[in-house]
Structures are given as structure tokens and as C-alpha cells.
């Protein structure tokens, strides 16, 4: 009687299902509804809000609603990309959770016919002082590497932050970028009654049963160990064959449509294909190749076994498809057919074991209005103070050594960043990854998000994340073309979480409009809470842009002794909510200063043009830690020191360590910077050279050698012996 509640459906939702079926659902149907009507599949608390995002743009080839979005990059080529979360599986089993997160996002991209050419990841953990956080970090990084490395797709960028509120509920977001001839892109809508439904790839087992509802749509609690069987197991070898096989099938135009199997398995894939095509589908579970002989029909329909794809094939091409799959050693099984009934029917041999209207299953889940209310008391604990004293040099070294700012090399060197021979800018060479394209030109990509700043101010913090992503692209000379996002939030049924979500989406929409960057796809991950409260609200944005000349892609490291160093862009930093404030144990402020979006955009465009013209030796966005940390990073990346004289200052702490949008550290010949100053506010502060960073500001004069900076910045290395 309360079976539907165990599966995560409310009483009202259950009654609605009965109404739509005109009877009570049987066990198979109930399992299917419970998954497709879960938050993870139906976006029931976020769909209305997401309509506020701008999705139109000149370069958009495919927008939200397909497996991945795609933008035109010229020359008849399209770039597809999407970011997706795999948070709860990773909190339960980090290696497989992270690995299958990568596997899943790769399938989304090759499902639309694009070859995956890059992976980026965005990770959040509790403080590394915690043993659990170190375990999750270590295993998640290993899992991402295991999948990406084995399948031959380079992991070219990413970000990771450590904050107390992620202690129980880590975040694992993975983004995949793919490349395709524009006319090769394929949609997922099933068509043509009588056409055959073919399941490709791995056999179906009991792994991942109920993953979308049990894991992805509920808060984590103490009993998570028992959820391990809900986590899928990845097999990158199977997927590498599947990628080549699917791209080969599309090359010869053998498929009507193609769809990956992800959350909710066959139910979701077949349901969505039928819904988009306005058709029906019959599936015979008796024909699905199984890992275990005694699986129930409902288990077959909802299994989240990995490395499977579903395609629609015209009967006359079935033999050709089978032959091609045999060559790639990929299993291909006809498991059903497209019908004109508008119903998803599940057969077990001759017996009908489930029969539901496609529309009810896929499109008619009730959508809920959020009931947002701004919090009246602080939601998050004050960070623990780790920096005492009042010495600016000590602060610099502490910032460089802080888990959020220290070098990511121990992580990214576990990822193959160079396979496929396109990687022009790898991690630590530039603010964004740059990949050269066959036939000329290049694309750049970056992924960003700052949960703490969004916790302080969901609207401004989210805007800032989008602008930082665009700034990263500007620093390599790229113009943004499109954006994907993953909204990681707590329980939306709680008014203050609903408020965070709504304000963040509004900030995201405003930033996209201000930059003319359309949202081409994304993902929402809610209920990210542990027993000690919600995570920091964490909208993660991934952006892709293009640049004409890969050989001129910008670098972040200082390059030439004697170059002038300047701060460019109208930079108005502030300390509250920043990294230094965290180290000092200051409470989160309840808002952040806004910024002039038009001015920041103008600065980004000026930087982009100067990089493309080859005028700058280096360009680096000022982000966490502020101006002086950015300068130190440029010193470390270039292996050369710098002498700075910032003159008199009323607020040296803010000037050196304050954060905000729209500031850049650039270097180049003095004449080039003087020319550049005609386009953008710019102050020359110093000179590149020597083997130390020296700073004079107001009454302060301090410095650190490159080796001192490097040692401080290597603080994460001991975690990966």
C-alpha cells in the first residue's frame, strides 16, 4: 500500500498516476513512473525556473532538450558539450561513482553523433584535514582518470574546492566536449512505426537499480553503505568500442535516431525517444541480453547498467547494423519496435507486463512551484580560522598553500591531457584549455563555480561564476559561444534552498544575457544535503569558445624578463567572502558587491583582442586569492620572478588579496601595454624578472623567492604520495 512512498512518490502523485492510467499501476509500471517522475528525471522542482534562461543564439545548433547542446564553430563543424553531476553515487562509492559520471557524460555527447574530444571536471569535497574527504578525493580522481584515460579522451581542465559543507555530500560534475561535422549531428526522436529498436553494448544487470530515485533524488543519510548496490560499475573498454561503433554507424547513415541509456535505463531512453517522436514503443524484456538469468521485467526496464545505447533502425538496414556492430565486437540486439500507439508497452515474450501512455510517463509529471524565502539567520557555519597574525607575506604564502589555491598538479597529472593530439594549452599553462581543430582554428573551454561566494549572495555569486568563465576564455583569446551548467543545490522543498536556487538561476540568466552567451544544456542536482545541513549552493558553469589562431592562444605565465606587469579591467576587489576571509575565520557576509557587467564584458573583449593580436606575453584572470595570488601564479607558471610597486594605498589588504569580477594580470612590452591602455582601464605596477616576487605597497615591503612560492603552492602533493 505504501510501496509508492518507498519508491519516492507522494500520495498525490500516485493518485495522479492512477487517474492517467484509469487503474492502479502494476509493479512494472509503478517502478517506471517512480523513476521518470523523480526529481532527477523530471526536474519537477526546477523546470519552471529553467525557462528563465536564455537559450537562443546565432551559433546554437542544438539547445536544451537533446542529449547535449551544440554550437557552430565554423568550417561546417559543430561542438557539442554538456556537464552533468554524479554526486550521490560518488559520495557512496567514489571510484565507480566518478568513473561512471565520466562514462555517462561521454555517452550524452556521442549520442548526438559527436566524437568526444575533451573532459573537464568540477569537484567539491570537505576540508582535506578530514580523512573521509581525502578518501573521496583520492578515489574520485582515480575514477575519473580510470575512465577518461582508458577510453582515450583527454581530461583537459577542471577545478576542485574544499569546504566544510561538502564534507558528507561531495560534488562530482563532469563535462564532455565533442566535435562533429555539423550535418552528422543526430537527434534522439524515434520515428517510423515498424522501425526496429536495437539495444547496443553491454548486457543488462542488476547494477544501478533505482539510482535516479534512491540516490539522486533524496538527501544522503547514515545508511549510505547499504546503497552501494545502487551505484553502477563502469567498463571503459566496452564504451571505447561503443563510441567507435556508434560513430561508424552514423558515418554511413544507418540509424534513424540514437539515445544513450543513463538514469532510469531503458524506461527513460525509450520513453524519451517515443515522446520526442510522438510515437509509441514496444519493448520485449525477454530479448534483452542479461547478466543474471532471473531478472524481473521491472529490473530490466530500470537497470542502470552502463555502456548501453538505444537506436532506431529501418528494418532493411538491420543486417548492415548487425554487421558493423560485429566488426567492433559490440553486441546489437533487436528488442522492440516503434509503434503508432503513443504507448510504451513492456512485453515479456507474448505477455504484456506494462502498458502506459508515453506522454503521461515522460511529460506529465506534476511540476512544483518553489516557495522561496530568504534565510533570516546564517545557513552556514563560520569557517575555522587557520591564519592568525597580520603579516602580508605570511598571508600570501598561506593563500598559495590553502587547499583551494594550491597547485592542482598532483590531480591533473593523473589524467591523460594530450591524447587525440589537439591539446594546445594544458592545465597550468593557461586559464582555459585550448584544443586545435583539424582544418584550422581552435576551441577553448573552462569550467567554474564558487560555492562559498554563491552562499554569500546567490545572485551576484552566480553572475560572477559565469563572468569568470568568460574571463578565462578571454585570457586565451577565445570568444564564448555557449554555456552548459549544473545546478548543485540542497533540498528545494526547503524555502531558503528554493530561494538560493531561484536567485542563482536569475543571476545565471542575467549574466548570460549580459554576455550574449546562450545556455545550450545542463543538469540539475538537488537534495545535496547531509545530516549536518545543505552544501554550499553550487552552480557550475562550463563554457566553450573559439579562437582563430591556436598558435597565439594566451598563456598565464610571465614569459620575458623586462616585460611590464599591469592590472587591467576596472577591478573593484573586496575581502568579505573571499579566500583570505575564510583563512581568517570570518563569517560569510550576507551579500557581495555587484559589478558593472557591461564594463567587465568590455574588458574581456579587449583582453581577447590583445591576446589574438599577440600583443600580450601573458594574461591571467584575477580569481580566488586576489591580485597578488594571480601575480604569484603567473610567476610560478613562467618560472620567473616579478617586482611590484603599487605606491601608496589606503587599503593594502583589499588591494592585494580582495576578490571581484573583471580584473586581469597581464604582462608584455611597455609600449604594447600603453597601446592597450587606450581600450581598457590599466595600471602598470611592475616588471618581470629575477627569481623572487617582491612587493612594495604603502608602508609594506615584502617578498618571497620562487622556490618559497613553489613550496607553499605544493601543499596538496603530500595527499598523493
Amino acid at each position: 500500500m505504501s510501496r509508492h512512498r518507498e519508491l519516492g512518490l507522494t500520495d498525490a502523485e500516485y493518485e495522479l498516476i492512477c487517474e492517467k492510467l484509469d487503474r492502479e499501476p502494476n509493479a512494472v509500471e509503478l517502478a517506471m513512473f517512480s523513476l521518470l517522475w523523480s526529481e532527477h528525471c523530471a526536474y519537477k522542482h526546477s523546470r519552471k525556473l529553467l525557462r528563465r534562461l536564455p537559450t537562443e543564439g546565432a551559433s546554437v545548433v542544438m539547445g536544451p532538450g537533446e542529449n547535449a547542446g551544440a554550437v557552430d564553430v565554423g568550417g561546417g563543424r559543430a561542438v557539442a558539450f554538456k556537464v552533468e553531476s554524479h554526486n550521490h553515487p560518488s559520495a557512496v562509492e567514489p571510484f565507480q561513482g566518478a568513473a561512471t559520471g565520466v562514462g555517462g557524460i561521454l555517452r550524452d555527447v556521442f549520442a548526438i553523433g559527436a566524437r568526444p574530444i575533451a573532459v573537464l571536471d568540477s569537484l567539491r569535497f570537505g576540508e582535506p584535514a578530514s580523512e573521509r574527504s581525502r578518501y573521496l578525493l583520492d578515489r574520485a580522481v582515480a575514477g575519473i582518470g580510470h575512465y577518461g584515460n582508458s577510453i582515450g579522451v583527454p581530461t583537459v581542465g577542471g577545478e576542485v574546492y574544499f569546504e566544510g559543507p561538502y564534507e558528507q555530500n561531495c560534488l562530482i560534475n563532469a563535462m564532455c566536449v565533442g566535435l562533429a561535422p555539423r550535418e552528422r549531428l543526430i537527434r534522439s526522436a524515434a520515428a517510423g512505426p515498424g522501425n526496429v529498436l536495437v539495444l547496443l553494448g553491454a548486457s543488462t544487470g542488476r547494477d544501478g537499480i533505482g539510482g535516479a530515485s534512491v540516490l539522486a533524488s533524496a538527501e544522503l543519510d547514515e545508511a549510505d553503505e547499504s546503497k552501494r548496490p545502487s551505484v553502477q560499475i563502469g567498463d571503459p573498454f566496452e564504451e571505447s568500442k561503443l563510441v567507435e561503433c556508434c560513430l561508424d554507424l552514423l558515418e554511413d547513415d544507418l540509424l534513424v535516431s540514437l539515445q544513450d541509456l543513463g538514469a532510469a535505463g531503458l524506461t527513460s531512453s525509450a520513453g524519451e525517444m517515443a515522446s520526442k517522436g510522438g510515437v509509441g514503443i514496444d519493448i520485449d524484456v525477454a530479448r534483452v541480453p542479461l547478466r543474471e538469468a532471473d531478472m524481473e521485467p521491472f529490473e530490466v526496464m530500470v537497470s542502470e547498467s552502463q555502456e548501453r545505447m538505444l537506436c532506431v533502425v529501418e528494418p532493411g538496414r538491420l543486417d548492415a547494423v548487425r554487421g558493423r556492430c560485429a566488426r567492433w565486437e559490440v553486441r546489437a540486439t533487436a528488442i522492440g519496435e516503434v509503434t503508432g500507439s503513443g504507448r510504451l508497452r513492456v512485453l515479456d515474450g507474448a505477455e504484456v507486463v506494462g502498458d502506459v501512455p508515453v506522454a503521461a510517463l515522460v511529460d506529465e509529471c506534476p511540476l512544483y512551484d518553489l516557495v522561496p524565502a530568504a534565510p533570516t539567520a546564517p545557513l552556514y557555519p563560520t569557517p575555522i580560522r587557520t591564519l592568525t597574525g597580520d603579516d602580508p607575506r605570511e598571508a600570501l604564502l598561506a593563500l598559495l598553500a590553502s587547499p583551494n589555491l594550491s597547485s592542482r598538479r598532483p590531480l591533473f597529472q593523473q589524467y591523460d591531457s594530450i591524447v587525440q593530439s589537439r591539446t594546445v594549452r594544458r592545465p597550468e599553462q593557461a586559464d582555459a584549455a585550448v584544443l586545435a581543430l583539424e582544418g584550422g582554428g581552435a576551441i577553448a573551454m573552462s569550467i567554474d563555480g564558487s560555492g562559498r561566494r554563491v552562499a554569500c549572495d546567490p545572485y551576484v555569486g552566480t553572475m560572477a561564476a559565469v563572468f569568470e568563465c568568460a574571463s578565462n576564455l578571454a585570457c586565451v583569446g577565445a570568444e564564448p559561444l555557449g554555456l552548459t551548467n549544473c545546478l548543485n543545490f540542497g533540498n528545494p522543498e526547503k524555502p531558503h534552498i528554493a530561494w538560493q536556487l531561484e536567485r542563482a538561476v536569475d543571476g545565471l540568466a542575467e549574466a548570460c544575457r549580459a554576455l550574449d552567451v546562450p545556455v545550450v544544456g545542463g543538469n540539475v542536482s538537488l537534495y545535496n544535503e547531509g545530516t549536518e545541513g545543505p552544501i554550499y549552493p553550487t552552480p557550475v558553469v562550463g563554457m566553450v569558445g573559439s579562437l582563430p589562431h591556436p598558435e597565439r592562444a594566451g598563456r598565464l605565465g610571465f614569459a620575458r624578463e623586462g616585460d611590464a606587469i599591469a592590472i587591467a579591467g576596472g577591478f573593484h576587489p573586496s575581502l568579505p567572502g573571499g579566500e583570505l576571509a575564510k583563512l581568517r575565520g570570518e563569517p560569510l557576509p550576507d551579500r557581495l558587491p555587484g559589478f558593472d557587467a557591461a564594463k567587465v564584458r568590455a574588458a574581456q573583449e579587449a583582453i581577447r583582442d590583445a591576446v589574438r593580436a599577440g600583443e600580450l606575453s601573458s594574461a591571467h584572470d584575477i580569481a580566488e586569492g586576489g591580485f597578488l595570488v594571480a601575480v604569484a601564479e603567473s610567476c610560478l607558471a613562467g618560472g620567473v620572478g616579478a617586482a611590484l610597486d603599487l605606491g601608496p594605498s589606503d587599503e593594502p589588504w583589499t588591494q592585494l588579496y580582495g576578490e571581484g569580477a573583471g580584473g586581469f594580470v597581464v604582462s608584455g612590452p611597455r609600449e604594447a601595454l600603453d597601446r592597450f591602455a587606450e581600450r581598457v582601464p590599466l595600471d602598470v605596477f611592475g616588471t618581470v624578472g629575477g627569481d623572487a616576487l617582491g612587493v612594495a605597497i604603502g608602508d609594506w615591503s615584502f617578498g618571497a623567492t620562487l622556490s618559497e612560492l613553489r613550496e607553499a603552492n605544493s601543499a596538496l602533493a603530500p595527499l598523493f604520495p
Partner: protein, 214 residues
């Protein structure tokens, strides 16, 4: 000069190797299931995770039909270049001495390293001079070379401080006794273009393509 690059299920760097080889000659892919080597002058066994590296890195690929032809080709003195997983395959196949063990750090490592040319008198290094230092990336989990008791002909060594995996005697590359089969853990095919960071790897392909003068 016609290169043939073997493609196994799970190979990752076969297209990269084909691109690199095509900078100095013609390059075709050889399907694992075919015994026909298409009349190539040199065979490249590329990097990646052939057959998922299940059982043991390189252990299954050696049983592919194409490898029967590669055995014959090598026995007849044809040059065979094994890169990373290809090196592992050639060791498993007994075409090269020794074995590759998990890195001392037990982690995948991807970074540029410097190697020194120890033997410039092989078909793979004759465009180099003894003592030349090359910057080439590595990327592997199972690259710690363990030579047989009687030793191996060392062709490249990691420069001091650059050994990424704990290889004995800093060995990065070895050849068979005849000198026509060569395996290395670094990826020369990823160091052939200034755009992507280094062109030092190209010299190994140039060595193969160069007419034999002496």
C-alpha cells in the same frame, strides 16, 4: 616509407601515431583481426588500453591475428616500434626482453619528461646523437621497466630526476638484440608539433624514415 599502425579494440593513441608517422611518410591503420600487413615498411604498436588491459597490460593483444604477422615481420628483420601499451604488448609477446610493472607510485602519471639517447645506432634513433636529450610526454600506470637478469639493450634512459615510474636503471626504452624491435614508455607521437609542446619525438619517426646511409 610506409608505416602500419596496429589498431586493437581499446587502442587510444593509434590515430595520433598515424598522424605522427604521416609527417615523415605514408601511414595506414592495421586492423587487429587482419593478418595482412599491407606491405608496410615499419609497424607501430600504439599506446592505449588494448582489450581494456584486462588480465594484465598488453596480455591479450598479443594473441590477435595481426600479431602473428607482426611476429613474422619482426623475425624477418622488419622494424617494429612499440609505444607504451605497444611496449607492454611486445614484452608480453616475447619480442622484447623484460617486463613492465605498475609504477612505484601506483598511479597514472601524465607529464613531459626528459630522456637521454643511450644508443643512437638503432633504426629508431639514428637521427639522434648519443647523449641527446629529448622532451617527450609519458602517460601510463604500468611503466616500471624490469630488465631480465642478463640485461637488455638500453636505447633511452630517463634524465636524472625525470624517472616517472621507478624504472630500474632509469630505463625508458629498449631494443631486442637484433635492434629491429624497439619499445618505449614515453609517447613520441605526442611530441611532433610545436603547437602541442615539443617536436623531439619526431626524431624517432625521422630515424625510421631516413634512408640507411651507413
Amino acid at each position: 616509407m610506409k608505416f602500419g599502425v596496429v589498431r586493437f579494440p581499446g587502442s587510444c593513441d593509434e590515430v595520433d601515431a598515424q598522424l605522427a608517422a604521416s609527417r615523415v611518410g605514408e601511414a595506414v591503420l592495421l586492423w587487429h583481426g587482419d593478418r595482412d600487413l599491407q606491405g608496410v615498411d615499419a609497424v607501430v604498436v600504439p599506446g592505449g588500453f588494448s582489450y581494456g588491459d584486462y588480465l594484465r597490460a598488453g596480455a591479450i593483444a598479443r594473441f590477435s591475428p595481426v600479431m602473428e604477422s607482426v611476429f613474422e615481420f619482426a623475425r624477418d628483420g622488419g622494424p617494429v616500434l612499440g609505444i607504451c601499451n605497444g611496449f607492454q604488448v611486445l614484452c608480453e609477446a616475447g619480442l622484447l626482453p623484460g617486463a613492465l610493472l605498475p609504477n612505484v607510485g601506483l598511479r597514472f602519471v601524465c607529464r613531459h619528461v626528459d630522456v637521454e639517447v643511450v644508443d643512437a645506432d638503432t633504426p629508431f634513433t639514428r637521427a639522434c646523437a648519443r647523449g641527446d636529450r629529448l622532451t617527450i610526454p609519458v602517460k601510463h600506470t604500468t611503466g616500471r621497466y624490469h630488465p631480465p637478469a642478463e640485461g637488455a639493450n638500453v636505447v633511452l634512459r630517463y634524465a636524472p630526476g625525470h624517472n616517472p615510474n621507478g624504472s630500474e636503471q632509469d630505463i625508458a626504452a629498449v631494443s631486442n638484440e637484433a635492434g629491429n624491435v624497439f619499445g618505449l614508455m614515453p609517447h613520441p607521437e605526442h611530441a611532433v608539433d610545436p603547437l602541442t609542446g615539443s617536436t623531439d619525438g619526431l626524431r624517432l619517426f625521422e630515424s625510421l624514415a631516413a634512408p640507411v646511409a651507413a
